[in-house]
């Protein structure tokens, strides 16, 4: 932890040079496979948090022979502590629209959708205005592509890609079984590329500057920059674009309030890292890096010593018990058990060993839940209970 260390700031996403028309027309004059290769060699991974290689996703969908395909921009930004997509859509909407259209060109889709979080309804008028202007330009250059906004209704689970499709199809937002995967069987059963808002914004950067410029940022396995939504006990909350691969210690050095007790990386479904592990924790995708690598959708919540980790966990579990779709057993019942279980331990109705039973349950949830929601509850639960066990009991 050196005090002289500077986090590597980047400034791509929000730099607005108003050149989207040029980027679009240039990109769609290149062969599709060239664009896919550009993405693959950039090593861009999905910025929603799961980290699937974006180029591969586009490639699989492009290779499908279906005559109807879709591109969907996932703007159902619901993870507690993340607020970057909202900013992208209000500051640089044309970058996202351009990226959606380029993806359409690459895969052969003629329709794009933005699945907009219900609570972001206020963004809709401006976004629609941008879409109108964008489509006008597409018509001008004789590029057949349309984009529509689909409003979400406030369910967290609809950010899960297959639940999102169900929601768009007018059904109850419940995750599907996988396989089949969206790239072959997505919205309306057609091949669908679904990308996070930020991922699409990064593809814009890559198509504009070439993959090298992006690849040169970050570290091995975690290339490029990423937006971070910084909140909690910090003197400077906000959105920051940083290169991936930084150590959490450096991050806390920059954003902490000199009393940081723990950082929640990746929102409620992410991990809580206690102070003693700041130095060995890197922010990036799993790989052969030294120490622990934590992927993130960009939510960084800092907690100082005034915070009760019991309350933090209680808050998360309330959220999950409420936002589980209720379909699969481990998630629907498991979340209620964990929530009621920590309260029972706190009140002394269950003994401290019950925490161990719940840790095992959390592991089962991780192995058996149908989708990412139920699988990831164990992340925050286990990391908090294991690191702050005494706060759970006393």
């Amino acid at each position: 932890m050196s005090t002289s260390y500077q986090l590597k700031r980047a400034d791509f996403i929000f730099k607005n040079e108003n050149d989207w028309e040029e980027v679009l027309s240039k990109s769609i004059s290149r062969p599709a496979h060239e664009l896919i290769n550009e993405l693959i060699s950039s090593e861009l991974k999905g910025r929603g948090g799961a980290g699937f290689p974006t180029g591969l996703k586009w490639k699989v969908s492009a290779e499908d022979t279906s005559d109807v395909k879709y591109v969907i921009c996932n703007a159902d930004e619901g993870e507690p502590g993340t607020f970057k997509d909202r900013e992208i859509l209000s500051m640089v909407p044309f970058k996202v629209l351009t990226a959606i259209a380029i993806c359409g060109y690459v895969t052969g889709a003629k329709e794009g959708y933005i699945y907009l979080r219900g609570e972001y309804h206020f963004l809709k008028p401006e976004l629609n205005k941008a879409i109108k202007e964008f489509e006008y330009y597409c018509k001008e250059i004789k590029f057949d592509f349309s984009i529509k906004i689909f409003m979400g209704s406030g369910a967290y689970i609809c950010g899960e890609e297959t639940a999102l499709f169900e929601s768009m199809e007018g059904k109850r937002g419940e995750p599907r079984n996988k396989p089949p995967y969206p790239t072959t069987f997505g919205y309306m059963g057609k091949p669908t590329v679904i990308n996070n808002v930020e991922t699409l914004a990064h593809t814009y950067t890559i198509f504009k500057y070439g993959s090298k410029r992006f690849y040169d940022l970050g570290v091995q396995y975690s290339r490029g920059s990423k937006l971070f939504s910084v909140s909690g006990d910090t003197p400077k909350p906000g959105i920051y674009e940083l290169e991936l691969g930084m150590s959490l210690a450096d991050f806390v050095e920059e954003f902490g309030d000199d009393d940081t007790k723990a950082v929640q990386v990746g929102g409620a479904s992410g991990f809580l890292v206690p102070r003693k592990r700041f130095a060995e924790t890197n922010i990036g995708f799993q790989g052969k890096l030294v120490g622990i690598s934590l992927p993130t959708g960009g939510s960084m919540m800092l907690f100082n010593s005034s915070r009760s980790m019991f309350n933090v966990l209680d808050n998360y579990l309330n959220f999950f018990a409420e936002e589980s779709c209720g379909q699969c057993t481990p998630c629907r019942v498991g979340c209620q058990q964990l929530l009621r279980g920590i309260k029972a331990v706190k009140r002394g109705e269950k003994n401290a060993q019950y925490l161990d039973k719940m840790l095992q349950l959390a592991e089962t949830m991780q192995y058996t839940a149908k989708c990412g929601l139920g699988q990831s509850v164990a992340n925050s639960f286990s990391s908090i209970v294991e690191n702050f066990r005494e706060e759970m009991i006393y």
Partner: protein, 596 residues
């Protein structure tokens, strides 16, 4: 045959066809993987997670029901991790389930109970969640009781109601801890589009959905010395009851059923088959009358195609969904209700009984019959025509309670007057049966000759396809039916309300040009009814159907109009089909209902 794949399950090599799920592959290899939300009648949901298995190289477990096999897959169905996880999941389900097993109607026939027993869940550490929810029991329906505290959200009922029946009375609502299976605006089951078909009961793995039972009421009636208790038995009961007695599906137990009913103390045991034959006489005549009105009188108001009206689930369905098409329904009551109306008139008179002292009970493969018997118009005898309706399952419970060793019973015969039956009546219990019975009689009535099919078996209307079509050309009819010369009588058969819906839609669009359609609410017809033994699945229903047709071909009389008791009732009491008395006692009206 598709491409073959090689996988291993628990180390053993298995070869299966591409597209097979792990669950199915394991079953083929003789390895059982427990399931709860999976049902052969329904689409795969993969939500209970009881069937999770371990795949080599994967940290997460996969649901066997929803995961297709891939070449080289190494599957473990009983690893340490799998067993632990499965046990956890059963514990979780039990923690949200009101496990009052000893006072539960499904005690002894509950899939969750079996799993708990198999996995020996002895120490239930998890917090019991039922008290945190404000559960209610919906007892308003005359047919179905819905107890949310016993629901494990497997959604089998929801999928049944949507996929098999196209009714969508039950649906999933809310999310997370509040997720529940409910109805439109959480109304009571008797206040929504529910057809009372009971398929949700047949597919529920726990006691969350059960029939409203009338066992105690019937015991009380039997015990009352002042009452004369009469029971009628529907055709499909005799091919289902054996399953409840531990016999293989498809075992016929007609004689033993009658013997056990006599031992239970019923004063008369008679057969719904009798009124099934009577239905054919009435309905066949009605069809021919409508054809005459259409072809000879050119009456523009005559409603064709004519639809059967035996299935009360179907009746409520069309009343809700296609109320403007009620004129297409035959006005004939169902055999159960014809029987009820006759028991307290014809039978009472013949036996010199006070109809007020007769308790009329029926045993049906059906829960919708409970609703039908309670319809306000079903009082044509001057009394409630059918007092209590038991399902096949309820009868089995009574037989067991009475301590009857079912297998050692000597076969017995139905009592006279309304106990005679023909093969045509027996096949009412299967999809296509009413159609076949009607054709056997109508064709002969019109031409004076038997239907031109080997052994009277009209195989075109038999089978399991959801919708089947057949047509018979009428040649050389008798003089009074000469207007039918050369007419192709076009018929269709639909079972499962989702299929009924598609036939109705083709009528609405004008695409269908049938004359006569048989509709049955349940998959397979009555033999797959909502009151039949649980479990149900396509194989079991096929076996019951085979038993029905075997019963038919073994009967000396195979045509409704040959039933001597039917001839007698027309001679002594009714005088003629569609006559005045028939009209009063055997025919009915329908009620238009709303879709919500």
């Amino acid at each position: 045959m598709g491409k073959k794949l090689k996988i291993t399950i628990n180390g053993e090599a298995v070869e299966i066809v591409k597209g097979t799920s792990i669950l199915e592959a394991a079953r083929q290899a003789g390895i059982i993987i427990p399931t709860l939300c999976y049902h052969k009648d329904l689409c795969v949901s993969g939500n209970c997670r009881v069937c999770v298995v371990e795949l080599a190289g994967q940290k997460r477990l996969s649901p066997a029901c929803a995961t297709p096999c891939e070449e080289g897959m190494e599957v473990l169905t009983n690893s340490y991790k799998v067993r632990n996880s499965r046990k956890h999941i059963i514990e979780l389900l039990l923690s949200e389930h009101n496990a009052e097993c000893t006072s539960c109607y499904k005690n002894g026939n509950c899939e969750l109970q079996s799993l708990a027993s198999e996995y020996k869940i002895m120490n239930q550490d998890f917090i019991h969640l039922v008290p945190f929810h404000n559960y209610t029991i919906d007892m308003f329906s005359p047919s179905i009781i819905k107890d949310d505290s016993k629901c494990i959200r497997c959604q089998r009922c929801v999928r049944t109601c949507a996929e098999l029946q196209g009714v969508n009375a039950l649906t999933m609502a809310y999310k997370g801890e509040h997720a529940k299976i409910t109805t439109f605006f959480e109304k009571a089951m008797n206040d929504v589009v529910c057809t009372n078909c009971g398929q949700c009961i047949n597919h529920c793995p726990t006691g969350a959905l059960v029939e409203k039972n009338y066992i105690e009421e019937v015991w009380t009636a039997i015990a009352d010395k002042n009452k004369h208790v009469v029971i009628q038995t529907a055709p499909a009961v005799r091919v289902g009851l054996g399953e409840e007695m531990g016999l293989d599906p498809g075992t016929r137990v007609t004689g033993k059923m009658v013997a056990s009913l006599k031992r239970l103390g019923f004063d008369a045991v008679m057969d719904t088959d009798f009124t099934a034959d009577l239905t054919i006489m009435e309905e066949g005549t009605e069809l021919l009358t409508r054809l005459k009105q259409a072809l000879v009188d050119k009456d523009p108001n005559v409603k064709l195609p004519m639809a059967t009206s035996c299935s009360p689930g179907w009746i409520k369905f069309i009343e809700h969904m296609y109320p403007e098409y009620l004129g297409h329904l035959s006005t004939c009551k169902s055999p159960q209700q014809m029987f009820g109306a006759l028991v307290k008139t014809y039978y009472a008179k013949a036996r010199n009984l006070d109809p007020d002292k007769i308790v009329s009970v029926s045993v049906m493969p059906c829960t919708a019959k409970k609703f039908e018997a309670a319809r306000p118009e079903m009082h044509d005898s001057g009394y409630r025509d059918v007092d209590y309706v038991l399902t096949t399952r309820e009868l089995a419970i009574m037989i067991k309670q009475a301590g009857i060793d079912f297998m050692r019973l000597e076969d017995a015969h139905f009592d006279r007057l309304m106990g005679e039956s023909t093969g045509a009546a027996v096949i009412f219990g299967s999809t296509g049966g009413v159609m076949e019975a009607a054709l056997r009689t109508a064709y002969e009535l019109v031409t004076g000759r038997e239907v031109p099919f080997e052994n009277l078996n009209i195989t075109a209307v038999r089978g399991i396809e959801g919708i089947r079509e057949a047509s018979i050309k009428i040649e050389n009819p008798l003089k009074e039916w000469s207007f039918l010369e050369g007419v192709q009588l076009k018929c269709a058969v639909a079972h499962g309300l989702v299929n009924a819906k598609s036939v109705m839609d083709s009528i609405v669009s004008g695409a269908a040009d049938y004359h006569f359609i048989e509709f049955m609410a349940c998959p397979g017809g009555c033999l797959g009814g909502g009151g039949q033994p649980i479990p149900t699945n396509p194989e079991i229903r096929a076996k019951r159907a085979a038993a029905i047709y075997a019963e038919d071909s073994g009967m000396p009389l195979r045509k409704s109009h040959e039933n001597p008791e039917v001839a007698k009732i027309y001679k002594d009491f009714l005088f003629s089909p569609l006559g005045e008395k028939s009209h009063k006692l055997l025919h009915t009206k329908y009620t238009a209902r709303k879709r919500r």
